[in-house]
Symmetry: C2
Subunit: 297 residues, 2 copies
Amino acid sequence: EEKTDTGSSVHRLIERFGLPQTGAETRFYINHILSYDQSRRTPRWVAEHLSGQRLQGQADRKHCKFKPDPKIPELFTARNEDYLRSGWSRGHMAPAGDNKISEVQHSSCPSSNRTLEMYCRDLTLRFSDVWLVSGPLLLPQVREDGRRTVSYQLIGEDDVAVPTHLYKVILAQKDSTLALGAFVVPNAPIGFERPLTDFQVSLSDVERMSGLTFFPEVDRAEQPKNLCDVDSCQLMDFTQFTLYISGRKVKSARTLARLEKVMTELRDAGITPDDYLTNLYLEKKRELVEKEKKPEQ
Amino acid sequence: EEKTDTGSSVHRLIERFGLPQTGAETRFYINHILSYDQSRRTPRWVAEHLSGQRLQGQADRKHCKFKPDPKIPELFTARNEDYLRSGWSRGHMAPAGDNKISEVQHSSCPSSNRTLEMYCRDLTLRFSDVWLVSGPLLLPQVREDGRRTVSYQLIGEDDVAVPTHLYKVILAQKDSTLALGAFVVPNAPIGFERPLTDFQVSLSDVERMSGLTFFPEVDRAEQPKNLCDVDSCQLMDFTQFTLYISGRKVKSARTLARLEKVMTELRDAGITPDDYLTNLYLEKKRELVEKEKKPEQ
Ligand SMILES: [Mg+2]
Ligand SMILES: [Mg+2]
C-alpha cells in the first residue's frame, strides 16, 4: 500500500493557502434564504415562507435575526446590464422585500415563466403556511440515438446561465395536514390552459435533476400528502393573473401618478380589484402620500 | 415598506423541515480533499499535495487526522457502469491511494486528457512541494452571431456530466519561491507537440470559468511568481509519457505475472526504466510476493 504524508500537508494547504471557496454557503435575507451558484451567476435554490398574514403585511420584523450577507466576489455576480436586450427578464425567485441590491442580484435568474409563482401566492388562501424552494434547472434533451445533451445560453458580459427549466418544491400546512408538491416547468410561457399536474414530478426526480436534497427533516415515509390530492393544483385564469400582475405593479410603484395609472388600467380592462389588491393599493397610497410630502433627499 | 414575519418563519423552516442540502461541503480523504457536485455527479474541485517524498513512498500516515467522509446520497453518485461503452474513461482528479470505493467515485469525472497530471508529477523533481487543485469545466462555444452556448453530454443511468474542459491550478514551492500557474485544457487528447504555455490562463479567468476562488490565503499582489517564468512548463515527451503510464500500471498490478508483463512490455518498446519506476516496481514486487505466499482469503 502506498504511504503518504498528506495528513500533515493537507493541514499546510488549509492553513497557509486556503481551500477553494465555492460560495455555496447559505445566505440569509429578510424575506428568503438562498445558496448562490458562482459559476452560473444564478441562485442554486431560494427558500421562502408565505402566509396569509405575511401577504397582508400584518406581521413585523421584531423577531428577525440575520447573519449579514457574506459578500459574493464581483467576479461572480450578475448585473442588470447582462439582461438588457437579451430577451430574458430578470426573474426573482423570491420577492425582494427590503430592496437591497445584493438581495435582488443573488435571488434572480433569466426567466420567462411566472406560473408557479402565481399558484403559490394563491395557495396562501387555502393553507396557513407555505414554504417554497425554487431554482433554475439545466436539463438535457434526448436525441434519437438516446444521447442526452444539456444545452443552455449564457447572456451578458457576466455569462449568466439561462436555465432550461425552473423548479419549485412546495410544502404547505393547514391544521395538522402537511402536503408536498414538486413541479418543473420549462423556462418559457406555458399559458393558462394546462393544469399544474402536467408539471408535477416526484420529489426524488427534482432532487436528482437539481442535485439538491429538499426539506431533509421531513419524514417522507410518513407525513406529507401529495399537494395535488389535497389542493386543486389549478393555475390562475386570466383575471387572477391580471390581478396578480397589478399587485406587483402596485408594490413597485414609486409615485402616486404611477400608482393611480395601475388601478385605472385595471378598471379599463373590466377587472374589479379584489380585497387583497385593494388593501395593497391603500397601503401603498398612504406610503407615497407621506413620501411626496417630504422634500427630496 | 413591506412588513414581514419571515424572521421567525425562517427559523421554523430550518428547525422543522431543514434547508436544502447542496452536498458541496469539503470532504477529506487520505490523499486529497474535494467538494462534490451532486447535480453533475463529478467533483467541483479536488485538492492534493505532491512532494518528492510522497511519490517515493518515504513518508508515513501517522500525522493523518481526517473527518469521516460524509455520505453522498446514492441518488447523486456515479458508478463504473455509467462509463462503460460511453467512450469516456473515468479520470481520477487525484490518485486514490487508500482504494476506498467512495474515494475513487467522488474524485473522478469523464475525461480523456492526462497531460496536466503528468506535468505535475514531473514538477516534484524541481519543487519541494506542489499543491494542485483540479476539476471539470463546462465552457461555452461562441457562435458567429456572438451567442454563447454551453453544451455537454450526460452519460450512464446516473447522468454524469462530461466536461468540455479540465482545469488545474498549481502552486509550487522551492526554498522561498512560491509560483502559481493556472491551466485549462480541452477534455480531449492534446498530443505531445504543444507547449503547456498554450493552455495557461490567468487565475481570475479560471476562477470566473469555475465559479471558485483558489488559494484564497495567498497574497496575490505580492508573492506568487508565474510558474512558467520559474519553470519550463514543458510537457513530457513520449518516453516520459510511457514511463509515467507504466508507473500507473505497476501501482495497480494485482499479480506478479501482471507486474512482470508491464516491465517486459516497457523493455520491448526500447525504454529503460528510470529510478522512480524501478523503485515502484521493487516495492510492488515485495508486496505481491508476500501476498501470493498467503492462501486466498
Ligand atoms: Mg460581476
Ligand atoms: Mg447513484
